[in-house]
């Protein structure tokens, strides 16, 4: 079934890796049982900062999921042959990322047993309703596409013709998931940090930088671990995409800064003050945000000159920097920064607690486990053909 048998044969190292992931998942599961018992009070969240690590990881991972379009679009729309070997890797990355998104939303619910109320009482006026639909649809699309192309590849035949329209549909759909996720935040009166029309474009730019950066790192790891060949060219093409997307992302952030600080409207400036300088002596996020900013600029210094970009070692470092920079920016600063100060001017800081971090780590481990298994299957199919 689904070529799953390919995932249960592997080297000793493979099994050690799998067991480690399960250990992390188990620890997080125990922490979640405690959260279920006691309530979300065991997290670092508060009446002023009501969303934190869970929702920001969700937001970041929607971007990773959407970024699959950056390999699917050139390959299927422009017949860009270099991406033949990485397209399926991008789709599997998307499936894993969307699953993580769903799990992060789920663990953030105060009443998880009632979560189906979203479908039982559909409310088209809520962006969360649309987000659920678009994420669910995207998961289905990618699951169908990835599994069908993999089966076709195994049999050495071309994918069935009915798949093409589904693949084409997945392209605008990928854009939609991250646009709707930006709309979750960008339409709230009284949350000035998020009330910006550039939120969706900025989300997409950061997604198309962080997702392909992760894909490059994964391709490099695959090259090391399995002696797969032919990944060098797509990696270089992906590097160009990362470079442009990262430039756009930095440009968009600078536009936000200009609007806030030239207009001098206090509620627009305060959030940036809090993130980069601290407010009322509260500075928990300041070192993180400066790390993110410095990493962003440094990664661009390495990515823009073709000479450094073409060096695999430098490229790997630059991709790590892009990923980390955007993880801090979106997976930490963007959500928490929107809550500080509160609409009533309260400056309450947020830091995740140990159980909260364990739960988040477990969801990451589930995602990494899925990526491991999917890539193992995809590569095993390829090896058996070679």
């Amino acid at each position: 079934m689904f070529l799953f048998e390919k995932a249960v044969t592997g080297s000793r190292k493979y099994w050690i890796w799998i067991v480690c992931l399960f250990a992390v998942i188990g620890a997080g599961f125990l922490a979640y049982l405690r959260q279920l018992q006691e309530g979300l009070g065991i997290t670092g969240l508060s009446r002023d900062v009501t969303w934190g690590l869970y929702i920001s990881q969700f937001t970041f991972l929607v971007g990773v999921a959407a970024s699959a379009v950056m390999v699917v679009l050139p390959y299927y729309l422009h017949d860009f042959k270099a991406f033949a070997k990485v397209t399926i890797l991008g789709e599997f990355l998307a499936i894993s990322a969307v699953t993580m998104c769903a799990l992060f939303i789920f663990v953030d619910m105060g009443q998880p047993t009632r979560v189906l109320n979203v479908l039982l009482h559909p409310t088209p006026n809520s962006m969360m309703f649309w987000d659920m639909l678009s994420l669910g649809g995207y998961l289905m699309l990618n699951a169908v596409i990835a599994l069908t192309t993999l089966h076709a590849e195994q049999k050495g035949i071309a994918p069935p013709r009915w798949l093409k329209p589904i693949i084409l549909l997945s392209i605008p759909w990928a854009i939609s998931i991250h646009t709707v996720t930006a709309f979750l935040y960008a339409g709230l009166p009284g949350r000035s940090f998020w009330l910006t029309a550039i939120m969706a474009p900025r989300f997409l730019a950061s997604a198309f930088a962080s997702g392909p950066a992760l894909l490059i790192l994964l391709c490099m790891a695959i090259g090391r671990l399995t002696k797969s060949s032919g990944l060098r060219e797509p990696v270089q093409k992906l590097a160009v995409i990362v470079t442009y997307a990262m430039i756009l992302n930095v440009f968009f952030v600078l536009m936000e800064l200009f609007t806030a600080f030239y207009s001098q409207i206090p509620e627009h400036m305060e959030h940036f003050h809090y993130l980069f300088a601290g407010l009322d002596g509260r500075t928990a996020l300041v070192p993180w945000m400066w790390t993110s900013a410095i990493l962003a600029v440094a990664s661009l210094a390495l990515l823009i000159p073709p000479g450094t970009r073409k060096n695999p070692k430098v490229l790997a470092a630059a991709c790590g920097m892009v990923f980390l920079s955007l993880w801090i920016d979106k997976g930490l600063g963007l959500i928490v920064g929107g809550f500080v100060p509160s609409p009533l001017g309260a400056v309450t800081e947020y830091a995740p607690t140990l159980p909260e971090a364990a739960i988040a780590l477990a969801i990451w481990a589930i995602g990494i486990l899925m990526i491991t298994v999917f890539y193992k299957i995809a590569l095993a199919v390829r090896e058996s053909l070679a």
């Binding site: 006691e38 309530g39 979300l40 009070g41 969240l45 508060s46 009446r47 002023d48 009501t50 969303w51 953030d108 619910m109 105060g110 009443q111 998880p112 009632r114 979560v115 109320n117 979203v118 039982l120 009482h121 409310t123 006026n125 809520s126 962006m127 969360m128 309703f129 659920m132 979750l184 709230l188 009166p189 009284g190 949350r191 509620e267 929107g338 809550f339 509160s342 609409p343 009533l344 001017g345 309260a346 309450t348």
Partner: protein, 239 residues
């Protein structure tokens, strides 16, 4: 007589319909006017807060970050940030103003709720259904007034006494002021209005030109909290 499920549903459906008809003939729009001068007369007065929180089983959490509140006092500058003025009257500077849910005519919390657990009734009250809330806290993020509280932990152990006529809440749901809709249904005024020794809070029907709230709004200068956001708050302050 044995009632089957169908006739039972018909029976209850009829009473719902009857109530909607009555509402259509006699329009209602509940609103509140707070006379800040009267409210500020007695320093440190907490009567409205105590009455409300006791009546509605609002728990007292020791940690501020888990605090649940339906009505509380906020310094003037925080309650009305757009009215800020370096040399504003000493009478108002830093003075505590009672704040609670504004029962907005265009409530952003209702717009964002993914389950319809919070909605605006025909009489303008922004209601909560604690049976349906999934605890996503989107409404908390959407409310520009900080009027909504989430139950981070089980509220019951934090209640010293319980009013059996009103439910407590459970962990994981959002709660807020409901303009005492359960008292309005019995023809009584909200608990805070009744408890105020200075009679600083006036509650009534905006749709009725003869109502006290309409008279006050017509005669006195009033402000609302953050009207520039287009939420159309229905709590007015005489300053």
């Amino acid at each position: 007589m044995i009632l089957d499920r169908k006739s039972f549903l018909r029976l209850t459906g009829l009473s719902v319909l009857a109530r909607k008809l009555v509402a259509a003939v006699t329009p209602k729009r509940w609103a509140m006017v707070v006379d800040a001068r009267k409210c500020l007369q007695k320093e440190g007065c907490q009567k409205c807060i105590e009455a409300c929180h006791r009546m509605h089983n609002v728990p007292a959490f020791a940690e501020p970050r888990h605090e649940v509140r339906w009505i509380w006092k906020e310094p003037f500058e925080r309650a009305f940030p757009s009215q800020e003025n370096l040399y504003s009257q000493a009478a108002f500077r830093d003075k505590p103003f009672p704040v609670f849910c504004n029962h907005c005519d265009n409530p952003p919390c209702v717009r964002v709720c993914p389950t319809g657990a919070t909605w605006k009734r025909d009489d303008g009250i922004v209601m909560m259904d604690w049976h349906r809330c999934i605890g996503c806290r989107y409404c908390v993020a959407a409310c520009p007034y900080g009027s909504r509280s989430f139950n981070w932990l089980d509220p019951r152990p934090r209640l010293t006494q319980m009013n059996a006529e009103f439910p407590t809440r459970t962990k994981g749901v959002v709660e807020k002021c409901t303009f005492c809709e359960e008292r309005l249904a019995r023809g009584e005024a909200p608990a805070c209005v009744e408890a105020c020794p200075e009679k600083a809070m006036v509650f009534g029907n905006l749709a009725d030109p003869a109502s006290e709230v309409r008279q006050l709004l017509g005669a006195r200068y009033t402000v609302r909290r953050k009207p520039e956001l287009g939420t159309r708050p229905e709590v007015y302050y005489i300053v």
